[in-house]
């Protein structure tokens, strides 16, 4: 963003997005949404509704079969692979299956996101230490990830996604393995990031997380958007 002219007020804009997996599994249909800087957006829906697919399309882990995604005002499909690398460093993703390196320490796993962005080592140490503290993982920081309980691993995944203070944070089911208290730590982190301008999009089936939170909620059903708390009238 530093060297491109912003053409949009939104971090993410999806236009009539659709995804059909071969041979004919329609996971997403005609989904449009926008997310502005500082906004927290929840994507809900039953298992298999298409939540993960939507997030994968936004970070280009899958390519859409229809429609388009605008990221930081650029058409995602048109971004070259070198520039995409830079953009990936500005997007933090907490995957539903974590995708951590089990043999590396917790610290190292989180630091990786900053190392690939060539951040100074002192800054990395500070930031990683602070994040692990916020998520209640300080006493695990030197342990290999494989020694952690799954709920702990989930928080490491969230910490890594937040490490670069990304412009966009995608979190897929970030509290699936977490109890209410740990879940609250994660939500607090999201709010802090959002306050600093990060757009947070979280997919979740956990009603506690978004109910009465005042944040926007999109509900998917069999790949279709059936509820959008901001445009109630549209449905």
């Amino acid at each position: 963003m530093n060297n491109s002219v912003p053409v949009s007020d939104f971090t993410v804009e999806c236009l009539k997005l659709g995804k059909t997996y071969p041979p004919d599994i329609t996971a997403l249909q005609n989904v449009s949404l926008t997310a502005a800087p500082g906004e927290i957006l929840f994507v809900t829906g039953v298992s298999g509704a298409g939540k993960s697919t939507l997030l994968k399309l936004i970070c280009r882990r899958e390519s859409p079969s229809g429609g388009m995604v605008m990221l930081f005002g650029q058409n995602l499909a048109r971004i070259g692979s070198a520039e995409m690398q830079l953009i990936r460093r500005r997007i933090g993703v907490a995957y539903q299956d974590f995708r951590l390196l089990p043999d590396l320490s917790v610290m190292h796993n989180v630091a990786m996101a900053m190392e690939v962005d060539y951040r100074p080592r002192r800054l990395i140490r500070q930031r990683v230490g602070r994040l692990l503290e916020q998520l209640g993982l300080t006493d695990k920081e030197r342990r290999p990830v494989s020694d952690l309980s799954l709920g702990e691993q989930q928080r490491v995944a969230v910490a890594r996604a937040a490490a670069n203070q990304p412009a966009l944070l995608l979190a897929d089911e970030p509290t699936g393995n977490l109890d209410e208290k740990s879940g609250a730590l994660v939500m607090a982190l999201f709010r802090e990031l959002a306050a600093a301008g990060t757009t947070v999009i979280a997919a979740t089936h956990d009603e506690k997380l978004h109910r009465d939170s005042g944040h926007q909620v999109l509900r998917l059903e069999r790949g279709c958007l059936v509820e959008d708390t901001r445009h109630e009238k549209a449905y």
Binding site: N2, R61, A82, M84, Q85, L86, I87, R88, R89, R90, I91, V93, R99, L100, L101, D103, M112, A113, E115, V116, D117, Y118, R119, P120, R121, L123, R160
Partner: protein, 299 residues
Amino acid sequence: MKKRTNPIPQILRQTGSNLAKTWPTQIMGLFTVMLAVLIFSFFLLVHLNMLATGARLGEELRLTVYLEREIEPPLMARLEQQIRQFGDIAEVRYTSRQEAFARFADQLGEERDILDNLGPEFLPPSIEVTPKPSLRSPDDLERLAAHLLTLPDTTRVQYGREWLRRFSAFNRVLQAVVLISGVLLILNMIFTISHSTRLAMAARREEIEILRLLGASRSYISIPFVAEGLLQGGLGSGLGMAALWLFYQRIGNPVNDPGLLGLFTPSFLPLPVTAGIIVGGTLLCVVSSLLVVNKALRI
């Protein structure tokens, strides 16, 4: 504007930490590369020496033109000119009756006493013609012999037809063996090194994929692997050649034994070949690493 540092130290650190983490695999890989290079160069050494011996045998090949009578130097000079006209002649040498007798006695060695009651007259004078290596096929020599028969005073042209056929059959076998074994051993080296690289990589495919998801640049991901291939290939090839040198010292000595009378004087691989093998082995490792990392990056 976020703070960023020079990427080079970070990439180097990454390389170092990779090496430190995976050293058991690295050592195995090193040993594998060393073995592959050693096997290849060992047989190259043996075969080059065999080829050299073959060539040295070939140098013993010459045609003898028997003459009716002794020849004076001026006539000899004319004859030599006529002979060299044929082309590809390495040497032309006149042998008088006296010299022929002395040499025959020499050849008989311990049996020379059977000549005791014979005078040098019973052997005819001759001219020995040594062809260049380019002129060693049975057909060429047949033509050369025919040419030599047209010279004045020639009674007979003789050359080791039997010997020549032995020699060229031997050479053909040798060349087939060298060719087949070369192909087999190069295949073996490629297979071994690529297996070892893929084995080392299998454990790290996950790491590569995650680095990509985090937006690491291609060079950030590839450089550690390529550096590893470079190190492993260079060290492995170097150690392989060093091991070969040790073997050579052990076998070379019994061979240098005067027993073989210069027929087989062993020599180590020439420096350019040694360098070539080391560079080749290293390159093979680097290319193999690059291929594997690129395949992993494509996924």
